[in-house]
């Protein structure tokens, strides 16, 4: 016989203002199986919890119903209190009288009646509840970091320095990411590579870090603490162990006219290449799509010249499988390209470039060795126009958000131009200047006040070429939207920061949610900024939204701290609210017929086949079995099972059935 304790909370006046709590307690107290029913001002307070604990001990309660706020708020609190008093915590349930009743309805009989109904429903459920034990799973203390930009580098170093193993994978031949392409960084104008390269080297040398460049995530299985990942190491066509990185091959390769990704197409590279001089690892790869040998079957010049005989044309992609306990996603972002903005002529005229291309022009290691020269004819532009929000804040083109970093880098670009081209004229078309950050606004003001950059508040409508000049048509909205036309030699578009190509696919692979723009979604916008809704997978940097360097680094350290926290325990405790396949006599049987439609329905591949054998070891039947480590407890299989052989703990057939029955029958 059930002995249920019901505890009605007033929540100060939050509940009692519209619900007659005493009446609820009184009515419910008369129900079968209810051993004690009382109301109290604050159930979650210490005295309130003590009331419950005392009742459990004194009345020998078999179940507890706390009728107060949403279980999403205080379920852990009350379950813990019950456990402390010796009652299995899963015998405690909550009725939501605040969010679902007192706060949303007017004071009156109907509201009190609803409260009674809600409590009765949960009482009936608890009568069918079963004691459950938490599930413990071991933790593999190795982290996988995906993406070797500044966020991935920082996360890897922080995790490695806290004493745990890290596997860092990067899809390009070198780590470094976008930051390695930048010239100087705002607001201090220190050289990007100067501060980045030491970190890159540290990654390569760290005893706790295994670095796989030219590698991508192939597939993932498992769950927090126990992921199994497959990594595809794309064939570099080089034996890295032998290669000395002398670079002779790259000078001999006859296939030289390929746009360099690192230089954003403003320079060329060979088919066998090291993306940039400071690359880590500083060893070449052969681009199979471009290499003359791979495309035409003849060449092998690099092989002939390689003093170390390290070229391996027959090398194939290698798939390695590693167990990891946590994953940090740091895949970064991309900038919008192509003819997304036909009215701005990008892609049609070589002197209309993106901000990232300007970085390469301004970089000492870039194609012009840091001189600002036009891609078309190499002349130094006398007039340059920067267009902010080229793509961002443009709902009509599908990017309503602010890309956040452009205001700052545009100010930096204009400033660098003024520093490098004396007497040059620069204009920035902007709508708002978003320079929130330490020393950020001062930086923009400096560009305007000291470096003489002309800021014009208005959006450019069109850019076209005429007689060798780029005509920029804008308006000055601070002068009554007066039309402005500037004849420029070069135009730099602050194109929108967008999610990386393939981000959506990766998110689906990892079961991580993403926003409409394919940036990965954090678990909570304020309180869980580096977690995802998949336990054990964390976010760092611009894969979550456009981010500047300091923010990316901060996020990376945050994610690393989360990983280190996870790795500080040997075992994880999980809620036992998972599916189970029934077992019944004789002696261990199951009503499961083994149709395994549940298998295809399960989003987590948590359903396995299990053979039931007799004593002689003959297979009597093959039935479904739930892997408790993989099951997340969605219950999709339960609703699907025709024989009702799978049930889900915490929401069993009997529990939900009795809830519905109690709801409608008083």
């Amino acid at each position: 016989m059930a002995k249920i304790g019901v505890f009605i909370c007033h929540c100060g006046e939050n509940i009692s203002a519209t619900v007659d709590c005493a009446k609820v307690a009184e009515v419910v107290g008369k129900y079968d199986g209810v051993a004690i029913s009382l109301d109290y001002k604050y159930m979650c307070s210490d005295p309130g919890q003590n009331l419950i604990k005392k009742a459990i001990v004194e009345k020998g309660l078999t179940g507890v119903v706390v009728a107060s706020c949403s279980p999403r708020m205080h379920e852990p609190t009350f379950r813990k209190a019950c456990a402390e008093a010796g009652l299995n915590p899963y015998m405690c349930e909550m009725a939501n009288l605040r969010e679902h009743c007192s706060w949303v309805h007017e004071k009156g009989e109907a509201t009190t009646q609803k409260a009674i109904d809600l409590v009765r429903t949960i009482v009936e459920k608890v009568k069918h509840n079963q004691s459950l034990d938490a599930i413990k799973v071991p933790v593999t203390k190795t982290a996988l970091v995906i993406g070797g930009g500044i966020a991935g580098i920082q996360a890897s170093l922080d995790i490695a320095n806290s004493g745990h193993k890290v596997i860092l994978i990067e899809k390009d031949p070198s780590i470094g990411g976008h930051m390695s392409q930048l010239s100087e960084t705002f607001p201090t104008l220190d050289c990007s590579q100067c501060i980045l390269t030491p970190r890159m080297v540290e990654v390569a040398q760290h005893p706790n870090i295994t670095l796989y460049t030219y590698a991508e995530l192939e597939s993932i299985d498992g769950f927090i603490g126990n992921f199994k990942v497959k990594i595809r190491k794309k064939a570099k066509s080089i034996d890295e162990k032998i290669c000395t990185g002398c670079g002779l091959c790259t000078t001999k390769c006859p296939n030289k006219k390929n746009p360099s990704e690192f230089n954003e197409g403003l320079g060329n590279r060979t088919a066998i290449y090291v993306p940039f001089p400071q690359a880590v690892p500083n060893k070449p790869v052969i681009d199979k799509a471009l290499c003359t040998y791979y495309t035409k079957g003849k060449c092998k010049i690099c092989e002939k010249f390689c003093p170390a005989h390290a070229i391996r044309f027959d090398q194939e992609d290698e798939i390695i499988e590693v167990p990891v306990g946590a994953i940090v996603l740091a895949t970064g972002f991309a900038v919008k390209k192509t003819d997304f903005f036909p009215e701005y002529g990008y892609g049609r005229h070589p002197d209309i470039i993106t901000g990232l291309q300007f970085e390469r022009l301004a970089s000492a290691s870039g194609p012009t060795l840091g001189e600002i020269r036009r891609p078309s004819d190499g002349k130094i532009p006398e007039t340059i126009v920067f267009v902010a929000c080229a793509g961002s804040r443009d709902e009509a083109k599908g990017i309503p958000y602010c890309s956040k970093i452009c205001c700052m880098y545009t100010a930096k670009h204009a400033m660098l131009y003024q520093h490098k081209v004396h007497g040059g004229k620069s204009y920035v078309f902007y709508m708002d200047i978003r320079a929130g950050g330490k020393m950020y606004d001062e930086f923009v003001r400096r560009a305007i006040e000291e470096d003489g950059v002309n800021y014009i508040r208005g959006r450019v409508s069109r850019v076209y070429e005429k007689n060798g000049k780029l005509i920029v048509k804008g308006a000055d909205t601070l002068l009554g939207a007066m039309p402005v036309e500037i004849e420029a030699d070069m135009v730099v578009l602050a194109t929108a920061g967008v999610a990386n190509e393939g981000a959506e696919e990766l998110a689906q692979k990892l079961h991580v949610s993403y926003d409409p723009y394919h940036f990965f979604a954090e678990a909570h916008p304020k309180l869980k900024p580096v977690e995802t809704n998949t336990a054990g997978i964390f976010l760092a940097g611009a894969c979550q939204a456009p981010r500047d360097i300091p923010e990316s680094v901060a996020m990376a350290s945050g994610a690393a701290a989360k990983v280190a926290g996870l790795f500080s325990q040997d075992e994880l405790t999980r809620e036992p609210l998972i599916a189970v396949v029934n077992r019944q006599a004789p002696p261990v049987f199951s009503s499961c017929v083994g149709c395994f439609l549940c298998m295809s329905a399960c989003p987590y591949h948590a359903i396995e086949k299990e053979e039931i054998k007799n004593r002689q070891g003959e297979v009597l039947k093959t039935v479904a079995k739930v892997n408790p480590g993989l099951c997340q407890g969605c219950g999709t299989c339960v609703a699907f099972c025709r024989t009702k052989s799978i049930d889900i703990q915490g929401y069993t057939h009997e529990e939900v059935y009795s809830e519905v029955m109690a709801l409608l029958n008083d």
């Binding site: 003819d339 036909p342 009215e343 049609r348 076209y464 070429e465 005429k466 007689n467 005509i471």
Partner: protein, 280 residues
């Protein structure tokens, strides 16, 4: 299937050479065509400038007639009429109440079954597939294809080509043997609807267009809109006075250019009607 034909007022008057050339090309490619019986003016800019309901009722009447006359597809060579008809179709299908109200005004139902083609869409569908094999006199000139406003805008409704840097006319012209030039004023407005009432603006707007085409070496401007043609052709005096020089590159309808390329008679294409002499 018979293609419906909505000439619109200009093609019956000041731009009759457009109608002549459309019909000549259509005939040369054996396309069945039938003028919508008892059509009326679409109302043009005037109607929607002054009265919204009128601006919908007039085009709706045309569409109703086409539907009643069993036409599934109509070609509307005038870009302005094409835009007015398309926008009316869009508004009526979006808003059933409005549809009822307009049916009441017109005493005519419209069920939205007529599909509206501009001249390029019509050519692409019925002429382009066989065009190259029919060319006898390649139109071997540098041409500036001028799209103007109403072929491409509003894009949400017309959904034709690209709203910036459209290419469909250029592609079509290339098939006649012409060399389309890349220029900056493909979709800038020529100011046609102010042509008579504010001639001063027109010299400036059209002047920039003709000027750029000429600067970039165009030997002809190709258009698909009677407003644009009249403006760039008949207003050449104002244009030249704005530019301060004499530019005499002709303005041809795309159907005239195609007609020339497939060897049709110049007169049948109405070339003699132009103000700026067509020497190409």
């Amino acid at each position: 299937m018979t293609l419906g034909f909505y000439p619109g007022c200009s093609l019956k008057g000041s731009s009759r050479e457009y109608a002549e050339s459309v019909l000549a090309v259509v005939k040369a490619f054996n396309i069945q065509i039938q003028e919508i019986d008892d059509w009326n003016c679409c109302g043009a800019t005037a109607a929607h400038s002054l009265n919204k309901e009128l601006s919908l009722a007039l085009p709706a009447r045309v569409l109703s007639l086409a539907e009643k006359q069993g036409l599934k597809e109509i070609v509307v060579p005038c870009a302005a009429c094409y835009a007015r008809l398309s926008m009316t179709q869009h508004e009526l299908l979006k808003n059933p109440e409005l549809k009822t109200r307009i049916a009441e005004i017109n005493n005519l139902e419209y069920n939205g079954t007529v599909s509206i083609l501009n001249v390029i869409q019509m050519l692409d569908r019925y002429v382009t597939p066989n065009l190259e094999s029919r060319v006898v006199k390649p139109f071997g000139h540098k041409v500036a294809c001028y799209y103007g406003c109403y072929l491409v805008r509003p894009h949400e409704i017309l959904n034709f080509d690209r709203v910036e840097e459209p290419l469909s006319m250029d592609t079509l012209m290339a098939k006649t043997g012409a060399t389309p030039i890349d220029w900056a004023f493909k979709t800038e407005c020529c100011g046609a609807s102010l042509s008579i009432s504010r001639t001063s603006s027109v010299g400036r707007l059209s002047g920039k267009i003709v000027g750029d085409a000429s600067d970039r070496g165009a030997e002809a401007i190709i258009v698909a809109c009677p407003m644009c043609q009249s403006n760039l052709d008949m207003r050449r005096k104002e244009i030249n006075s704005y530019l301060g020089k004499r530019i005499d590159i002709p303005v041809l309808y795309i159907t005239q250019a195609i007609g020339l390329a497939i060897g049709l008679d110049r007169k049948a294409l109405g070339l003699q009607r132009h103000f700026v002499k067509v020497k190409v």
